[in-house]
Amino acid sequence: MSRRGVLRLWVLATGLSGAAIVGGSLQAQETPASLEEIGRRIEALRPQVDAARRAADRADSRYADSLRIANQIPLDTVEVGPLRIATTPDQVELATELFGEAWELFHPLVRGSEHLLSDQLFVFRYAWRLEGVYLEGDEVHSVEMNRRYGMERMKDMVWSSLGKALLQTLPADASGLTDWVGRQPLSPPLDWSWVYRDLASTPSMASRRCYQGELSWCWEAMGIPAGEGGWREWYTPEERRLLVESRFGQHLTREARTLESAELMLHGCVVLGSDRACLYVLGVPAGSIPLEVSSRASLVAEALTQGGEGAFSRLIEDPDLSIKDRLALAAGVPADTLVALWRERTISARPRTHAGLLLSPISLLFWLILLLYFATRSTQWRLG
């Protein structure tokens, strides 16, 4: 069967345009009347739809204004470096303190490009009740948290909001970069030991060889392969199978579930042991980069820190550059030097403790003993 012949047949039949299809169908079927009737209905509806949309937008705008006028609580604005923070008068001091701490760590990343953050507005509130603020928009970042979550979570939120604001300043043409860091806040790591753990424990040939000092493999482990299809080298066949089994197990991810074929391939990979099927499953977008997004963000932070003045501007100035070249340009050093510095910093952050191996059982034992104590002694709380 000639596939080209089939394709031409289809193109002739449809023309892939409305007019050609209409022309083709008018002669052969009973539908012309229906088609014309539907077309007339669409033409009649369009101006009504446009008018209704405008009326609905106006009504919604009026409604939003009325809410704002009736309920908006008074806010003060404070400035920390280029950051503008809106908060209630009683929390100006707290907001200044928390954003000040965060800004000290963030500033090295955007030195020379501070103005990029000056359009952003952070709405800060740390209270038991959070209603009453009607500041919304693309450049408004809500940093509101109920007090019941505690100050540490609040600090994390401030930190994260700066990272989000920074991510948002990336121009649209830097979408490759934002996707690469998983659209996560572009924050420097608070604790590099977690980057170390990621590098040391990821079951991937690429991260293993990076750990051993082969710098080109660090880029591979970061998900930036040297050539097209390079991602196939990130894992050995056995690692691929284990990765698919552990990551997807018996339940497909939401992403993979949209593909009926992914289910089939999962079967091929995990049960039948076909490497081709494993490659297919891991090929589902963004599913198989060895190092976590937080580790990738740490490389961006390293590049910006190394680059000093103007590093952030250099990172975003040329949309045609690859991620690797952008990072090198921002850092002001060759790409391999950058990744060597990142690796050095990561290796030097090797944790001396054993990830809470001691602390967790102690906590567990404490609670067990406490509860046993209460459960076995006679107190006035006993019923009867």
Partner: protein, 397 residues
């Protein structure tokens, strides 16, 4: 009064003072802004209407083009048709073509008894110039078109595609054609059209039943594989034989498992109830299907199965259990569908569905009582903890 009761009451009063009266607060700007006033309601209704008309306008044209292409083909040169957008790469076309051919070969239907084809159509093809630029709902759902009464029979699988977007041609082909050259391949490219290719046009009453939702039963071919990956379909039981796999089973399905024949009948006859669409959106094309000029033939997403996705394998289960000859008798019968079923397979549809479902899920205790196993487990739990408490209490005394 006991002191702990006083403390408890005080705490409740405190919670009440803080939390009452109940207030609605939704932090999202969208929900505050889109408050569904009369103007917004009016707009949404009109938008739904124009989207629906746009959908119809496209489908009428697609159907006519497909019908014409399939009926005017030369059967000796083109036993089946494969059509992709004009700028598609050769390798993708080859994959679809190979997928269709291997499916037909696997079911020994080459040449097919009725013309069949796979059509990937750009989602915007045939839009009216006055349509809204935003996409219509349900635009990625796979559709099946079959001949109307009086027409030469055919069956076409239609998949709308987006040239550059997420559902581009490459991804769609990945989804449609299951790696036809590996050990893990699956010949099911044509889906329900494979049954048309193998058995020809169904009897008129069977066809009407297929159109009303029965076609859902012919979507899948490898039930064992799916059971392997979805625990809820695996029929596995939890401790003490407790049923844990209800998540994909409707109330009707559970009633069927409990032995209610009328429920099993309801599972089989879908047309009466017009199952809820998979996606709950405002605009529901299924509401319009009956009056649509297009003989739209359902989709896996439009018919919520009483036994979840397992229902997609009912036809292959029947073929496997009774053989293709008897399935063909059922398929081609001019009897009403329930009589056709009994006549072909020697068992009533409800009885067979019950036995098929029980093989998958096991049976369920009938009635509102707590299952015996659950009751025993509860008593055992009470016994263990009560005994423990008694033991500790006596030892202290």
């Amino acid at each position: 009064m006991k002191r702990y009761l006083l403390i408890l009451i005080a705490l409740l009063v405190l919670v009440g003072a803080l939390g009452l009266p109940p207030r609605f607060y939704d932090a999202s700007w969208w929900s505050r802004n889109q408050h569904r006033g009369a103007e917004r309601q009016r707009y949404l209704e009109l938008r739904d209407e124009i989207q629906h008309q746009t959908w119809r306008y496209q489908r009428v044209q697609w159907r006519d083009s497909i019908s014409k292409a399939l009926q005017s083909r030369n059967p000796s040169n083109h036993p089946y048709l494969v059509a992709l957008p004009a700028n598609t790469s050769d390798s993708l076309e080859a994959r679809v073509e190979q997928g269709v051919r291997l499916h037909l070969q696997a079911i020994e239907a080459l040449p097919p008894k009725v013309p069949v084809g796979v059509f990937l159509i750009p989602r915007n093809a045939g839009r009216h110039s006055s349509s809204l630029s935003e996409a219509t709902g349900y635009m990625w759902i796979r559709e099946f078109y079959v001949a109307r009464e009086g027409e030469e029979p055919y069956c076409a699988l239609v998949q709308p595609v987006d040239g550059a977007g997420y559902w581009g041609v490459a991804r769609t082909v990945d989804n449609l054609v299951f790696a036809p050259d590996g050990d893990f391949s699956e010949a099911n490219t044509l889906r329900i059209c494979g049954f048309f290719a193998r058995y020809g046009r169904p009897g008129s009453q069977v066809e009407a039943w297929l159109r009303d939702g029965g076609s859902h039963f012919g979507s899948g071919v490898n039930m064992a594989r799916r059971r392997l990956f979805y625990l809820q379909y695996s029929g596995q039981r939890g401790p003490f034989g407790l049923m844990t796999g209800y998540s994909s089973t409707s109330h009707t399905g559970i009633a069927c498992l409990a032995g209610v024949n009328s429920a099993c009948m309801e599972v089989f006859i879908k047309g009466e109830k017009r199952a809820t669409p998979y996606f709950s959106r405002r605009w529901n094309p299924e509401e319009y299907l009956i009056e649509s000029p297009v003989d739209f033939f359902g989709s896996r997403y439009l018919y919520g199965g009483d036994f979840g996705a397992m229902e997609e394998y009912i036809f292959t289960s029947l073929e496997k259990e009774f053989g293709v000859e008897r399935f063909e008798v059922f398929w081609s019968s001019e009897l009403p569908v329930l009589e056709a079923f009994q006549s072909a397979f020697g068992v009533t549809a409800d009885e067979w569905v019950m036995s098929w479902a029980r093989n998958l899920y096991g049976s369920v205790d009938r009635g509102p009582a707590v299952p015996v196993n659950a009751a025993l487990l509860s008593f055992l739990t009470f016994g263990v903890f009560g005994g423990g408490a008694l033991f500790l209490g006596r030892r202290k005394a």
